[in-house]
Symmetry: D2
Subunit: 282 residues, 4 copies
């Protein structure tokens, strides 16, 4: 476990443009899939107006079934990139393979590796050889150690890695996955990489996002990712977990005093780290 | 699922003595097992001095192996009760079966049902027929619905039920169990019963308790349970997850500004609840 | 782990009446719940006619919801016992608590402890103090070691323990639980207790029971438990996983040549045990 | 779910060279990693002498840590291919990415997709566009439906797909993964693709392989995969789960009468399929 320890400090100041991901609480928001110019422009405008600086949206979609909507491809990247540029936002979008990596990297600021590809080592090695920052999602049933070792593949050549917890497989059908916030706390103890929490894919529902978002702020996560769609009921992908514009506005207002408290404490003594006890007692 | 819905409101004011568990953030702390008069008195004194009002400690211990320490039994209950009385604290301790229920209820204020007994229906039915409040721990791999249905057994006759999330079985060996904070958010959406989070049994380690405690506050949980021991390395049970007195003091100081923020917001608009979207879109 | 090792040999000849559970392949079959005299008598008659010697049926039912059918109680025990006696069969039925243990033991030959009670130590200790054989079901998410340690509680005073694998919690909704046949192989390596596989509660469906029953025979399990009902669609409990009389007849015919092969090999060299390799290599 | 149903029949006669994978019980065996000419030639010779017709061995190894042995690459493919050719065996080896697919396909008969790549859709689509048969391993925590949908990606263009169960993530540390034999039974109900069981990666230990191999035969699986190494303690990869030559010989002898029984029954009425009951009863 000395591996990631040795890397500590590397990313203490992971900055992308004017955004320093290692400080403060960052919101990455936008639709699951880029569907149309109007959809993505309206979303970008709404979010930018409420302080969101990173726009998410899928153009290449890994789908469980070959018969599901697979994304717009390059036109989707262009729409996302244009919408973000107009609002002065950064973009994050998924790269699915080595072949399309140059294409995606030509449009997008932060390259996302999806949960299904967390151990796609060929892709990780290719991402180590380029300079765009990488947002690595935790695999569906990856341990924290496996997650950090996957990051290590990218860190071989590219220090700008962002970890993203998105829930793990569980037995409870009420949520899409089981959000592992103790895993987030462990990632922050074991590594200095920024940690983002994807609240939409983990919970798969909208009604418990607000309390979990506040938990992420208090926990010390560097940010959260949420899906926002102008008309969730009409979304081509995962509409059941997308926030409406109104939901998103209320969510962002809800976390504001918590983010402010954290900023105030952070200058001082946040976060507290208690010592780990060794396994000597019964 | 209308069942628990129908119960909503019942416990809006679950009070035990002067402690209203439905308001504010409550800390239940103390040793895993009651071991000696000195141990439990010193612990009670330390915790009471930092504002903790509920003292925990096991006297009847359900142990995986028949060869492990099984607890002091009645003398342990008496030690716990005396120490709490001296400090003006309430007590919480586990009741393992119908036979010893009257004995435990004779000493203890809040009767805990352990994870192994969450579906011990004979015990739940007996608890429904007496008046002491019941702290029901979630089973090792119980769904949220099963957890609420187990509570329903007690609610048949006793409205004073407190739910306790304590982590569920998972594949990651870094934590003893996987803490399910989205489950806590669900419990708070689906029921009005107070929800307490056991951070010691869920994580099984001390170094990530502080961030998770802050998360519990921000999330809206009614409280947390943590194990505290004067000398963790010498504990007869689960010492590796026990906080020292110094750890406990720092933890309690760490959450203070977060509890204060919540109290300030609570008068006003806390917590935010976003609407649930129905599963109509792709 | 020396614990159960030390017990090896104890049950090498676990016999109940004329049935030696440590030899051959035993079928325990019958309805989930005893519902009526006609139901249980018809079932017993059908099964006895096809060589089944152990009749199962629930009279005290542990149900997730307090609003589900809870079983007939003592009249159910009597019906089961009478039906078995008429056919010269043994009975197995669940005992849920210490209070009703004498009642159940007064009617039933093999006392079943359900998955929810695997770590109900008060019940296990009471079962150690009486002489009826105990069929202990594996807990919903119990490790093999925890399962054996639970058995150890009964073995403190009662050597006649039968282990029953019934699947564990998993993420796949296609089966009710995930049947763990490698766990069965481990139980047979680590202990000499007979191991029975409950195919109905593990799979929760009828269409894959035949191949899994053959697997149990070949694996070396001492037997299987299946639910059989004269009219599955009308069952008061778990009808979806119950075999009809015709299904049961075909299942029993299907395993016959496999049981015969095993009997032939068993006299000779069955089962093969390969050495365990220690964790020394990369 | 009609998807795979529609495909039924396609692979009823999946043949590779003279080996018909849809009939009989096939053993795929060999080292985890190809390490040297001597290692792989000796292994091939030993196995071929006992009737094994498919030689496995890794040349491109997906490893959790970037610091672990990553395989010999092309020289490994050549060694494996030469050893198999000398013994008249087929080969199976992992292909990790689209880039090296032509290279691997140039040497190997059956292209294996590892568990980590089960949802690497770019790779699956590339495999659909070539004609070599594909052995698709189940993802670490994939449901049976997700597994079949992943196969569907390959089936879009290549009908020769073999499914391989290799255990899923679980909470029990005694085995590396939890072998899901009810999943194998489901795969055989829901699809006509041949199903192979990897006993080495699922269990991660040697001592329970024999009973599970017999279970696979009786269940109806089309074959099993096991790791065999001339000197397990010196293996560069996963030595703890590798069978020695002697172990392998004994294992193959052990399953022989079971395979013979199955062949005898298969001409006749094997396997039995009972009807599925619909979820109408309580």
């Amino acid at each position: 476990m000395a591996l990631y320890g040795a890397r500590k400090g590397y990313n203490a100041g992971l900055s992308i443009g004017e955004v320093n991901l290692s400080r403060g609480f960052h919101v990455m928001a936008g639709p699951c899939s880029v569907e149309s110019e109007e959809q993505v422009h309206r979303t970008a405008e709404h979010l930018a107006g409420r302080g969101v600086r990173i726009l998410r949206g899928g153009a290449f979609k890994p789908r469980t079934s070959p018969y599901s909507f697979q994304g717009l491809g390059e036109p989707g990247l262009k729409l996302l990139s244009d919408a973000a540029a107009r609002m002065g936002m950064l973009t994050v979008s998924e790269v699915m393979d080595v072949e399309t990596l140059p294409l995606v990297a030509g449009y997008i600021d932060i390259l996302q590796v999806g949960a299904r590809n967390m151990q796609n080592y060929s892709l990780l090695k290719a991402l180590a050889k380029q300079s765009k920052p990488v947002l690595l999602k935790r695999g569906m049933a990856a341990t924290i150690e496996e997650f950090l070792l996957a990051a290590e593949y990218v860190l071989q050549g590219n220090e700008r890695v962002i970890l993203c917890e998105r829930g793990v497989r569980s037995f409870d059908p009420l949520t899409r996955n089981m959000l592992d916030l103790s895993g987030v706390a462990l990632l922050r103890e074991m590594s200095h990489l920024p940690v983002i929490v994807d609240l939409s894919h983990s919970t798969g529902r909208t009604d418990i996002i607000a309390p979990l978002a506040r938990a992420c702020v208090a926990l010390g996560a560097e940010g959260m990712m949420v899906e926002v769609h102008p008309e969730p009921a009409a979304a081509l992908c995962d509409g059941v977990q997308a926030l409406s514009f109104d939901d998103a506005s209320r969510l962002l207002a809800d976390i504001t005093p918590w983010v402010a408290l954290r900023a105030k404490l952070q200058a001082d003594r946040f976060p507290l780290s208690l010592p780990k006890r060794n396994a000597t007692a019964g």
